[in-house]
Symmetry: C2
Amino acid sequence: MAEKPEINLSKIGFVGVGVMGRPMAANLVKAGYACTVFDINSVPVKYLVEQGAKSAATLEDVGRNSDILITMVVNDAQFIATLFEPGNAAAAMAPGSVVIGMSTMSRNTVQEVATRLKEMGIDYLDAPVSGGEVGALAGELSIMAGGPDEVMEKCRPVLEVMGKNIYHVGTAAGDGQAVKIINQLMVCVHNAVAAEALTLGTKLGLDKQMLLDIISTSAGNSWIFSNRGPRMVKEEFTPPKSALNILAKDIGFVIDAANRLNHPLVIGSAVHQLYKMAAADGLGLLDDSSIIKLIEKQAGMGDG
Amino acid sequence: MAEKPEINLSKIGFVGVGVMGRPMAANLVKAGYACTVFDINSVPVKYLVEQGAKSAATLEDVGRNSDILITMVVNDAQFIATLFEPGNAAAAMAPGSVVIGMSTMSRNTVQEVATRLKEMGIDYLDAPVSGGEVGALAGELSIMAGGPDEVMEKCRPVLEVMGKNIYHVGTAAGDGQAVKIINQLMVCVHNAVAAEALTLGTKLGLDKQMLLDIISTSAGNSWIFSNRGPRMVKEEFTPPKSALNILAKDIGFVIDAANRLNHPLVIGSAVHQLYKMAAADGLGLLDDSSIIKLIEKQAGMGDG
């Protein structure tokens, strides 16, 4: 293994440059950070190299070139593998360097990973985002960060390149994921009940567009209803703004976190079943608003 | 029975002048309509007489003095009794007069009442409202009206005195209630999931006020979360903006309408149970945001 470099927080590694990670990394390059990127998909890597990033051959290379290593990977397993599989990133990182986990992950995984990194002298900041591809492109994500004050302050300039609202929500690893979980519980329920309401309205003989117009200016409105309701009415489920599988995964994290605390969630658990049914029914890669197709099918309606 | 008068739409009867009905009737008096009011509570009646309304001794008197009879009563039973009990309003009303039902009621009741009135030559307009006491005072309610075009057009000037957004949502009695039901399904679910989310957040070690600040500017926001969330955080459940019993009643109407159509409602029915539990637990007369007290108690938290 090569000698570990000194830390000055100017070198950023970025693992996972998909729909969200690619524009986030591009904004860091544009801001002047020396970025080394890695993804199994070569297309976005090539794009980022054209913007001025370096491409790493291995995750060990990324680790060695990272004062701060940012991950925006698909799931917990990729996150753990990125850091800890033999020959991967963490072992190549210097003491005093920082890992920032920015995808939505299990709070429990994040807590375990933070403990493991700490034993290696590496700091961890838990920093999931909201705002989607639009927010990522504009550098206007909301970032919910959990970690010690000094780690937060080290990372703040980097987060400010990617986000507009930077919240330091707590000092423990997992606090960021905890806030994200609460937000996603509401997003998942609001999306599913929008579908349930529009479907019942149709059964009652009402026009969906009329319901959308009235309720989006009434007490029944939600951010999700205003944003995803029009797609439900137009049955416009591709391309996905955000795939249903993502909400199916997120509501799973909510339930997992509650179960570990033996905390009851009457609404959340009912809605969890609906997302699993929707994914099982083949809707996972469509827009998350496509849950209305499941609800209509359950009611013997639609083209289900 | 006295001779029935001619109809010129200038004389309005108003039955049920409580929190909502009193300011609605006051706005009609202010607009120059000859209003005859009735309520078993003499305090708001006295107030309205001071504003220029006439007080009726009986519901028959109200009927005889109404080209348009507006009801804003507490429940379906009062509505039916107001109109049809021997010696009450409907029998004293002239053919061509109109009843406008403005409280939230069962769609089925409204359909049956409309049929019965039609046999007596009386038109019916179904016109539930949203906007609460604040909207009623300002004459800025949202009104969701269902009924034939010509009845709607007869009543529109009167509705415009009480409301800002007047929606003619369908031509059948019950269409207004149907839209209101859909809105209330969303209100009831959004309120309950806000409580579930804030309670899980507390269990995860997060500060409720911080969650409120972040989520109310994020994708998890709803009108209800912005409006009732602060009361949940401050545990400020009196005086009620709107009593929990009202939402408990409304979600019951949602379930009743769905059951009559054998239409499944996975989320709505789970939430219906929560409101019944909350009412059974003595929260019915508190603000509807007090559902968080039930959720906390179910989780072994709070002062249960």
